[in-house]
Symmetry: D2
Subunit: 311 residues, 4 copies
């Protein structure tokens, strides 16, 4: 029954892939690719869809295109799973604006990393959340992403933020498991507060330790693998966990490590999706798609991994 998905589960559990944004050029969606990609991901049994995150290249996209994407995705998903929309922006007003657009289109929640130009202190960051959250028409997930925002949500800030009505969870992408461990007492006190792990290399252990799920980029490529790993971890089937985790590591090693820049992850996923004939590999500036040499490496790795290579 579709209407159920309009109510965001508390806590949100499972695999919520951070969808890439298929592009024909820097301001044009690859709409056919987008349709294929959404169906490809949903067919894997995922528990939600997160658009306009880092993997979705949100900061590189125009506001117009972001709005078009939100509408198209919500319309196509049609409530089959909750849609979460990234509203991270250096401007408070723009974040609120995208949140309203998300609400109007039928999304279930929004996701926010700290504003990332001016270096706010933790007290300022908390005050920012206290001002922002009441202005939002949808529940809010925090997004800890210090490698790009240069600002961490310190554990004490998360604890205080969790007291704000409307803040319903956190997506953690720092890779620092000490941080997760420090937040666990919070999780015990607030069982409805979602903890989602961003780095798929840590999905297995995070779920074993009590995280509610993962926002795994590789689920753009092979969504069922991550769903299977999540389920194995939930049911404490350690040998299945180990075997599925190995496959996740193979994808991470093969697809995210080609080329020399930090953007290898993003370029690798888009290139692989293109090789799999799902969508275009165009990236918005400041990045560009892999050239022929890197593409050949990705194509070979896809074949070795047993993923479909149609091109």
């Amino acid at each position: 029954m579709e209407s159920n998905s309009n109510i965001l589960p508390r806590p949100l559990r499972g695999i919520i892939p951070p969808m890439v944004t298929p592009l024909l050029d820097r301001d044009t969606l690859d709409t056919a690719g987008l349709e294929r990609l959404i169906e490809h991901i949903l067919a894997g049994g995922v528990h939600g869809l997160f658009i306009l995150g880092t993997t979705g290249e949100a900061p590189s996209l125009s506001h117009r295109l972001r709005c078009e994407l939100i509408e198209r995705v919500c319309e196509q998903v049609k409530g089959r799973v909750p849609v979460l929309v990234g509203i991270t922006d250096t401007s408070f007003v723009e974040s609120v604006s995208i949140a309203y657009k998300s609400k109007d289109a039928g999304a279930q929640a929004v996701v926010l990393a700290p504003p990332y130009y001016f270096p706010a202190g933790q007290a300022e960051l908390l005050e920012y959340l206290k001002h922002l959250t009441p202005e939002l028409p949808l529940p809010l997930f925090l997004y800890n992403m210090p490698s790009y925002t240069k600002l961490v949500f310190e554990p004490e800030t998360v604890r205080a933020a969790a007291e704000i009505s409307g803040v319903v969870g956190i997506k953690e992408s720092s890779g620092n498991m000490v941080y997760f461990r420090q937040l666990q007492s919070l999780l015990n006190e607030k069982p409805e507060f979602s903890f989602l792990i961003g780095q798929e290399e840590l999905l297995a252990e995070a779920v074993l330790l009590g995280a509610h799920g993962g926002v795994c980029g590789g689920a753009n490529l092979v969504p069922q693998l991550y769903v299977d790993l999540y389920n194995a971890a939930c049911s404490r089937d350690l040998s299945a966990v180990e075997s599925l985790h190995q496959k996740v590591m193979q994808i991470s090693t093969a697809i995210y490590s080609v080329g020399k820049y930090e953007s290898s992850y993003l370029k690798g996923i888009k290139c692989a999706l293109s090789c799999m004939d799902i969508c275009s590999d165009f990236l918005a500036e400041p990045f560009h798609r892999f050239r022929r040499a890197e593409r050949n490496v990705i194509r070979r790795h896809i074949k070795d991994l047993g993923l479909t290579d149609k091109r």
Copy 2:
């Protein structure tokens, strides 16, 4: 004759203050304050006006407000000096959009720091400039601001960028004078390429060494001081330079160092402008204006410095 100012001087020389954006709240301009501020700055004899930079809190402002500001400023300046507009954005498309808005409103140039969410490599940064510059309807100044963008325009990138038609200068705000020294051979080869220094503490020496001018935040407060210092440096009047530089350092020490966060500079200038009865001290999130304690310190310093304190 006003029409002259529609042609951007090559190189652009002199004092081009980075104007603060007077706000009543996070999405409402203090229009009366804005008028007073513009006239206050122009009365100091400055050589240009730079809006929507870091000092102008551009990343914190909505696109709508940025557009309103561009229009109001251009209309009021009426060609008395060139207006430069910051178009820095993580989205290529949004940068181009603001550039067109600037052109339509009558601005003379645009200013661009690197996109600051995704960590581009230098080759990617150069390619970005090669794609962007031809799309812009106005001449472009590069803006080196690594403390906030986390990405430097390396000297070799500046050298290559200076070959792109439309790139007319650089505003340097890293404080690293070795960088300036490394760029000087470029300046010798391209006498029309502007080098403007961002940190007012270095204005005196930079101009003595060949820089064409400065983008000095303190010129919001006392524009004539910076113009006088610039003129003294141009005419090699070293004793006047020394005496005026001392006053600049007093402002820097007294106004930019109150409070504990990196945002002291911005809060200090806005607070001082408010104490001087020129415009509101509201700051957009993630910052907030100084509370009473810090404001009292600023007010005392303004009095000590002999600036008018009307409130």
Copy 3:
């Protein structure tokens, strides 16, 4: 049988506490405290003792005192457990010198973080290991500690280093579990290569995932807790793991977070040991012991945690 411990187990497994160095002043050992501390730790059933690491303040100590410590520790331990000695130094020659001193005194292995003044590249770091290891008279553990050395042993460097005869393991203290996951294929290929985790907050999961043990600072205070947690993880007793992990987190939260500097961890452990009447809390420069206010907090936490407070 004591003689067994002269042969370093391969892989080395279990809890190997990084011992603090009890000091009466900056160049005088607290020899009585040292004796008590060693017996206190060994009584907890630990599997080794690591001296002159970060927790041991090695970089702050004179070479003379380091040598005295090595001798005293080896003499007192008398082969009951393997002794590992930190030889990290910016000087290759001094590292070799301490390694020989360790061998002569009866230690079983040495531990080395990258030289930490000059910023070596990874190729240089690997070459450094290729030069150094053959000069050492004892097996070598790598020590990944980027927060202090500013240089990480990249996974590919560890992989190459593991091929050098004499390199027998790694102590990982970055807290980045993705790094651990990336090294696991190495561990599968080289079952004798030890992987020890440095951050006690991650001990439980690291051992569950295949690490061989931990170098846990809190084991200076309550060694048996960490041994019990290690054993529970080895035997896959997940409910015991969870319960013991909670106690570890309580110590981490209560003892390592007092005071405002990054040195809180080190000051907290030494202060707690002093409150427990085990050894002096003197710290070598650039640090100093907690003053009365922080000491009172530590004493209260020790009482709350049920640790003995004799002073």
Copy 4:
């Protein structure tokens, strides 16, 4: 009269080259090269000699070799110029030890960067200086080198340190001229406190602005150039300053920028000295001398610059 140089000038003025340490291997001085190098440098008319700094690879050298170097240098210099010795060490006791060795050998002053393993706070750093300075038998220069020590002497710390008896100056190597400007009021209040600039690209302007001299690595190669530039700046001969500064920039560009690591500066100087037949180009680990390809580039640049290439 030699005895004059035994009294350290206050302030110390002029060019004090940071001497490289000629090595045959990692623990053997190139004594013949050392003699030639000292005479080569002194023949340029320099005003002092700084050994065991960053350029001198001090952190990579054994304590024994450091002591041998101190003795040999002091003996050969024979009071012709003051000798300053770097005593930077992570261990307080070792710093004091090298200071006594320096005093005994006849050096005139010591130079200290912050201890660089443990991250001290500014209050701890100042306390460290208050403890250390009274223990030293020679006057102390502070050495601000944040790129390697990761810790800056904040202006307020320098101001407080300058009140400690025995602290006589600072060598500034951050390249941040705002920092210099912030320290200038201190210099005005304490005319005997030396301010020496570390980066030769900034020598000209620093001396024009009131610095007392420079610690210029290039003065290992062409000492007279830096002395001439210093003299031109002191006498305000701006056209000579400009011309000599150009030559300094050519050396910086040609010699310090070969190869891909941050160590290019150090490798370039040693390689050039070797090409000039002055001393060996061996570098202690973690670095190594330039291989043939880079050496050929350096040799060509030396020829282009008109420096003698005897090999």
